[in-house]
């Protein structure tokens, strides 16, 4: 039974990594850039929800606060793109990488000033209560995380595969100029996708903060989400989720069965291993560029 407990809590953690990785992949799919601040977006979304919901701040009911904070983060993502990222249009990937890292620092600082550096928990209906299946006890939050993540991934996958808008976004990422020729408003696509990534980050943040405490440095979780995105292969939505689950499940098992000191290395070692032997992830989308 211990095995099952570890597995479920690992899966729930993995879903949060998967949701952050989903944000990376969304932006990567649509703009060919990587938002290194996605983890900090998640942290910020969690704090916005917390500020709206918790009694010591605004004290709105959870079912009002949660959609509101998702909307706020979507707007936030859109504005970040509108005021900052858009000006880098056509510049190298490295410029965007460095810029988003800097953005993460700024967000961490702002969150620290507004909400303080003490770890806080989102008081939500998800954070209380357990579900019992025989002798296995699952937190309600864990189950909610898993269900939400799977649904979200499914809908986003369908969105990119089936809808006109989703296909236009993919086209815009692969060749900006050709997309312009086809009549796709590339800049508007980018704005929408950043908004979407902000919303996904807010969902991840709400789930994460109802499961455990959050503080301004929680954004560093983003590094583990990188591992998830890379293992899944950047550019594949289900891949990001599976990558997140792999990282999430490895962690509790490594800390249970491996010597202390080696266990926290496990996700990063796996990341390097995948990068060396399958540089484009397990669900590869990238082929060799031929000249």
């Amino acid at each position: 039974m211990e095995f099952l407990q570890l597995l479920v809590s690992g899966l729930a953690n993995g879903c949060v990594y998967g949701l952050i990785a989903l944000g990376f992949v969304l932006i990567y799919k649509a703009t060919e850039a990587v938002n290194f601040a996605q983890g900090d977006f998640m942290m910020f979304g969690a704090f916005v929800a917390l500020g709206l919901n918790n009694a010591e701040y605004m004290g709105l009911p959870f079912w009002v606060a949660a959609p509101l904070s998702i909307a706020i983060m979507a707007l936030f993502g859109y504005l970040i793109n509108y005021f900052i990222i858009r000006h880098l249009f056509g510049q190298s990937q490295t410029a965007v990488v460095i810029l988003t890292i800097a953005l993460g620092f700024v967000l961490r600082f702002v969150a620290g000033v507004i909400w303080g550096h003490q770890p806080q928990t989102l008081v939500s209906p998800l954070s209380v209560g357990d579900l019992r299946f025989g002798s296995v006890v699952l937190g309600l939050a864990d189950v909610a995380i898993i269900v939400t993540t799977v649904l979200l991934t499914f809908f986003l996958y369908q969105f990119f595969q089936r809808t006109k808008l989703g296909l236009a976004m993919q086209a815009a990422s692969q060749n900006q100029m050709a997309a312009y020729y086809m009549g796709i408003p590339v800049k508007r696509m980018q704005g929408l996708i950043w908004g979407l990534a902000g919303a996904v980050a807010a969902v991840a943040g709400i789930l994460f903060a109802s499961k455990g405490a959050i503080d301004p440095n929680a954004g560093l979780l983003g590094i583990k989400a990188f591992a998830a995105a890379v293992i899944g292969g950047f550019g594949s939505l289900p891949g990001a989720l599976v990558g997140g689950l792999i990282v999430g499940v490895i962690e509790p098992f490594a800390s249970r069965y491996m010597a202390p000191g080696y266990s926290q290395i496990a996700p990063y070692a796996l990341l390097l291993f995948v990068l060396v032997f399958r540089p484009h992830g397990l669900f590869s989308q990238i082929r060799i560029k031929k000249v």
């Binding site: 060919e32 990937q93 410029a95 460095i98 800097a102 990341l271």
Partner: protein, 361 residues
Amino acid sequence: MRIQFKTSYEDDIRLFKDRWSLGVYAALIALAIALPYLLDDFYLGEVTNVLIWAIAGLGLMLLTGQTGQASLGHAAFLAIGAYLNIIMIEAGVPFIIAFPLAGILTGIIGTIIAIPAVRMHGIYLAIATIALSVLADDIIILLDPWTGGVNGKFPPAIDIFGFEIERWTMPGRFYYLVLIVTIICTLFYRNLLRSPLGRAFAAVRDSEVSATAMGIHITRTKAASFGISCGITGLAGSLMGYYAGAFNNETFSLVISITLLMMIVIGGLGSIHGAFFGAIVVAFLPQALSIAKDSFSGATVAIPGLETGVFGLILILFIMFEPMGIYGRWMKIRIWFELFPFARKDMFKRQKSYLKTERLR
């Protein structure tokens, strides 16, 4: 307005463009040598810090600015340099041998790490090097018997043929040591750029496809760049160890890696000046902030994350409005004066570019 006529290839690759620039650099070195007599010990220490950061910046600049490979893991190589140096010193190797050897060994380790890493592209390399930087912390603890783990290491006084150098009691001597290393590294870097290898670096940065077409072995060139870059960074790391006086697994964290990369972007990618300008910003920003904070609030309230927050903000503004960094701005101002009154507004306008993916599906 100075006009230069180049009549041979030798003219084109000369170390100094003309007598004027030779004179400027000579004056700069003279000033640097006279500095211990002009400043008090505290500011001399700060200038030493600037120079050490500049050496590390030169190392990363070679990789990122010259070869176009962004690395977010250079703190790991700072750590490797620092630990190798101290381990050799404690084993009884004299400083004059241990210090260069630490650099060379770091370079070799860097090359070994680079061989799988250079096959990766852009963001993948950045992510792999982040993982490297995170892993370095844990690996230092695991290698406790050699590295001292969380207790860290305390570098003893440097001894060069009986000539003692110690950072706290004789800051002047330590400053001169760092200055000499800085000058050697800068000259090495400058000469490397004039060599075929340096040209190959720039070719790889600008277009891998055309570099391949010109007969450049991409992987070998990138690995060489990684190796040399790590070597210089290793030297900076061992100096940083001496400067700090004590270091452990947390000294060379991921934040140092990121700061290093941001530093060379603020300074100006792809220029030697950029490394120095960036180092000045990094070294003096904390002081400027604390002075500003005092004059605003009067009290000394500690605001965690303020330095990195402000640093990030500066960086965002630079990338948006002056992607060439401080050096780029400086060059524009200089050219405006040199060409006066012929400078035009659109002289530095960037060509509009579009992104094309490497993904084929």
